[in-house]
């Protein structure tokens, strides 16, 4: 099942959280395989388990049951140190709120993962500048976050995710804090990175963002309820929009409310 081009392989992943007295089943027997070079969107409402799934893919959390493999290596039984090194090498994180350091220049932000990869400072700076150029921000290397637009900040964050040449870019609502135009900048960049062969996994509420992916995975109540080629993929084949099926596509209105609620939560 897991051949050489399989990046991540999950079999029967279950995740149970203990919330006081009650147990919450966040993931209920999820099996998923991510091949190299895929462009995947994971969609679902709040509480659908997509954040838990993201944390497990990102090696920030470990499943209660089931087997998680990255590049054929089982993640269970790894020490915190080994997991940190795996995150550093294999995963590039992009967050909704960018999570940039407040007072550091862009190149400083980008070289951060290299610090933990024990790359020498001089070499790290060179690679940070190179990666900034890759996301179109060569001119802004010395700018601090407050001197950059939201879209530019997110691109700095993407450069930071890419600088250590990870296998997988894991983005959590990457356009959630951006307006349509700057969000488009980021999506265009994702498209370019996908064309260059990078594996992308995007967690999103936003239908438009999901439509750009080649594969859309929909979650509900801790399980995958649909896994289909995205609009972009089907459009390329000239087929029908996979998301037009009512059962699979979340209704626009509840999604919008969810989004607002989550933004309020994030901001508050």
């Amino acid at each position: 099942m897991a051949d050489s081009s399989t990046l991540i392989d999950m079999q029967n992943i279950t995740k149970v959280y203990q919330m006081g007295e009650t147990k919450v089943l966040a993931l209920n027997g999820v099996s998923l395989s991510i091949e190299e070079g895929e462009y995947i969107a994971i969609v679902g409402t709040s509480g659908s388990g997509k954040s838990t799934l993201m944390n497990i893919i990102g090696l920030l959390d470990s499943p209660t049951e089931g087997v998680f493999q990255i590049r054929g290596q089982r993640a269970d039984g790894l020490t915190g140190r080994q997991l940190a090194d795996l995150r550093n090498r294999e995963i590039g994180f992009v967050f909704q709120q960018f999570n940039l350091l407040a007072r550091a220049a862009a190149w400083r932000q980008v070289e951060l993962p290299l610090f933990y990869a024990n790359v020498a400072r001089s070499a790290a700076r060179g690679r940070a500048l190179e990666t900034l150029a890759q996301v179109g921000l060569a001119e802004r290397a010395d700018h601090k976050p407050e001197e950059l637009s939201g879209g530019q900040q997110q691109r700095v964050a993407i450069a930071r995710a890419l600088v250590n040449r990870p296998s997988l870019l894991l983005a959590d609502e990457p356009t959630g804090a951006l307006d349509t135009r700057t969000g488009e900048e980021v999506l265009a960049l994702f498209e370019k990175l996908h064309q260059e062969g990078l594996t992308l996994v995007i967690i999103t509420h936003d239908q438009e963002v999901a439509e750009r992916a080649r594969r859309v995975i929909t979650m509900r109540d801790g399980a995958i309820i649909s896994d289909s080629p995205g609009a972009a993929a089907t459009a390329a084949y000239g087929g029908s929009n996979g998301l037009s099926e009512p059962a699979l596509a979340p209704l626009p209105r509840p999604v919008a409310i969810e989004q607002i609620q989550e933004r309020v939560y994030e901001a508050g």
């Binding site: 940190a84 090194d85 967050f95 999570n99 993962p113």
Partner: protein, 412 residues
């Protein structure tokens, strides 16, 4: 070696909060400066006093009567030390290590010259006093052997006495009256320059026989005049202990003390005086610097407080760093080094301030003591500041390592 990598990170973080960092450091700065200055003052004062004592000779022994410890006269001197003891102690056959024996009988008394008068400590003694006590004469000379044996009415006075009575110090040949009896001034002592320990500026010296027979109403013990103390000079610094034993043996015999009886006199040496002064000043210094060290403790708690705030404020940053691959040890070291840099910087500034104070004090003319800050104190100050950083930074740093990255990343 890897530790060095965290310093730029720490410096960046401290730079980002300059005001807060400097206020936090202030606690360490004040603590370190206070401890160093107090240690410096203590050492300066101690060297000053020790130097003073040493300049008066380290071969001297002082024999004093014990004080009564019971009965009506408790606290006053036992009057059993007499001129008879002095004569016996002066025999070199039984006291080969004693070079000089000098009796003293002194008291405070009124000196009069013309319309002026002053109270001075007048001591009756012998010619050898000047040698044993290293007196320096500014004008004239000290008492001579002849004047002692002939009980001449002559006096040697200190500079303060001279200026009080004559408003000048070139007073050799002038006359001073004690109880109406005229005394000729034969010498004036060199000004000792400090009003404190061992100064003779307010003293006068007259022949011992004159003090006993005419000036003071001196009691007798077994037919001999008593003395207030006897000074002895050992032949060398190494023989001081031997001299002390010889003197003790003679006096116990003469005073008819049994093997179990306590001595009715005590012998102190300059060496024992040096020891006593040394231990008194170091105890005082220790006491004062431990009070100052409390401010260092308060400063350290300030560091811990601000590091805890810093960890809470940067929860999201810590989550991010962990997501990007930071090990637990990376997070721990980042915050430890940050508090270390804070306290070391504070320690260095404190050292700078105390050094500045020491230099300033040394430039003030007539300031009684130097502030001496040794290399050992500097090393200790740096060590203590660094220790403070590590001890008080450890708990906040450990709090940082315990953060769950998933929760930390969501923290607002």
């Amino acid at each position: 070696m890897k530790l060095v990598r965290y310093f730029p990170v720490a410096v960046d973080s401290i730079r980002a909060n300059k005001m807060r960092a400097s206020l936090t450091m202030l606690g360490i700065i004040i603590g370190v400066a206070a401890v160093l200055i107090i240690l410096g003052v203590g050492r300066g004062a101690s060297e000053d006093i020790l130097g003073e004592v040493a300049s008066q000779g380290t071969t001297r022994l002082t024999i004093s009567p014990s004080t009564e410890n019971e009965g009506e006269g408790a606290g006053s001197a036992v009057e059993t030390l007499t001129m008879g003891d002095v004569r016996t102690l002066s025999d070199p056959a039984f006291h080969p290590d004693v070079r000089q024996i000098v009796p003293q009988y002194g008291g405070n008394i009124q000196l009069v010259a013309g319309n002026e008068n002053t109270r001075a400590r007048v001591t009756g003694t012998t010619a050898a006093y000047a040698d044993v006590h290293r007196l320096e004469i500014a004008e004239g000379r000290f008492l001579t052997e002849d004047e002692i044996t002939q009980m001449s009415n002559v006096i040697v006075i200190g500079t303060t006495v001279a200026t009080d009575l004559f408003e000048r110090t070139q007073v050799v040949g002038e006359s001073v009256r004690i109880d109406g009896e005229p005394f000729t001034v034969v010498g004036v002592l060199e000004e000792s320059g400090n009003a404190g320990f061992g100064s003779n500026d307010e003293s006068g010296f007259i022949p011992i026989g004159v003090a006993h027979g005419r000036v003071f109403n001196v009691p007798r013990y077994r037919g001999e005049y008593v003395v207030t103390s006897i000074s002895a000079d050992a032949v060398s610094e190494e023989r001081v202990d031997a001299a002390e034993r010889q003197i003790e043996q003679t006096l116990r015999l003469r005073h008819g003390l049994g093997a179990d009886d306590d001595s009715d006199f005590s012998i102190s040496t300059q060496a024992s005086l040096l020891d006593t002064i040394g231990s008194v000043t170091s105890t005082l210094t220790l006491l004062l610097s431990s009070i100052a060290a409390i401010s260092l403790l308060v400063g350290g708690i300030g560091i811990m407080n601000i590091m805890l705030v810093s960890v809470t404020e940067r929860t999201k940053e810590i989550g991010l760093r962990k997501a990007l691959g930071a090990h637990t040890s990376d997070v721990l070291l980042q915050f430890l080094v940050e508090s270390l840099v804070l306290t070391l910087l504070g320690g260095l500034i404190g050292i700078g301030i105390s050094y500045g104070a020491a230099v300033l004090v040394s430039r003030v003319p007539g300031f009684p003591i130097d502030v001496l800050i040794g290399i050992d104190a500097l090393v200790m100050a740096l060590g203590v500041s660094a220790g403070c950083g590590l001890v008080f930074g450890l708990y906040p740093a450990m709090r940082a390592t315990r953060l769950d990255p998933i929760v930390a990343l969501r923290y607002e």
